[in-house]
Subunit: 157 residues, 2 copies
Amino acid sequence: MPVSQTPIERFEEYLVARGLRKTDQRRFLVEQVFSRHEHFDADQLIDQLPRRGDANYVSRPTVYRTLKEFVDAGLLRRFELNGRSVYEHDYGYPEHDHLYCVKCNRLIEFQSEEIAKLRDEIGRTHRFRVRSHRLIIQGVCQDCSSRQSQRRRQDRV
Amino acid sequence: MPVSQTPIERFEEYLVARGLRKTDQRRFLVEQVFSRHEHFDADQLIDQLPRRGDANYVSRPTVYRTLKEFVDAGLLRRFELNGRSVYEHDYGYPEHDHLYCVKCNRLIEFQSEEIAKLRDEIGRTHRFRVRSHRLIIQGVCQDCSSRQSQRRRQDRV
DNA sequence: TTCTTTGCAAATTCTTTGCACCGAA
DNA sequence: TTCGGTGCAAAGAATTTGCAAAGAA
């Protein structure tokens, strides 16, 4: 029982446990997905991959299929934003929620223990077996706020 | 300044304010949407409307266009669940959040003042101008839980 | 009259599927 | 050898758009 597995190791374990196969595409995609820590959607991931004809090319359907497996394996978490699926690291990454700026579309992470507490309490009063939650706070981030008020000042001149 | 407007009145005000027109389709759709208080998606709404050829028929594109206007006018709130847009009453309806049962797909509403407080506090510490939030707690509802444990008991026999 | 709105058909966007061939175990 | 996996092309689901005709102001 390893103390701390890399995402790659954890994924291989998942594959073995299910009798699935370790393929070049799966290996390559775990590497890519965990090479940087950012939210991404399928298209953004594909843009960062080699093109058709190049080495390590992975087809679009395989990307979708593999993303699903990553979620299954507990490596990624998926949520929806503006009608598309967005993925973020789950494995080995602390629980957190997001501020979403409606001006610049940026997702800002934050952590709050209170939320999990509150969530569990709510679950208890509703006799609901809580598995997880998803909180997105919409609004305007600091950068966009100051840019806005700056423009307002200019307009007044 | 009316003390309490119906959704219909409020929508007409919105239309006039924007120089838009009061059409039969818009009138009919407000009525339909506010005739019952439930979450719904575009397809569910369309299923409840008259078919092509019948009186009061509204085409699919018009339904989509009008739903967007309802959101704009503050009558409805939209969120995404399993890749599709879900709408719920906003106007005249208290702020609330949802428990989502992953077994039966049911959405259960609940209210909690704590959440708004916590949300605003988080906004303050991040210098983020909070506009709204969306919290969905995923898990298993009471009905599905008891059904499950019942089955487990039966299986053991 | 003027300019918005509607319905139709078609296009788009994102994602999934069928299938023949490839390849891991 | 045996299945599962992959890429391709095509299908699907949800939503949007172009456009000509209809309709509100």
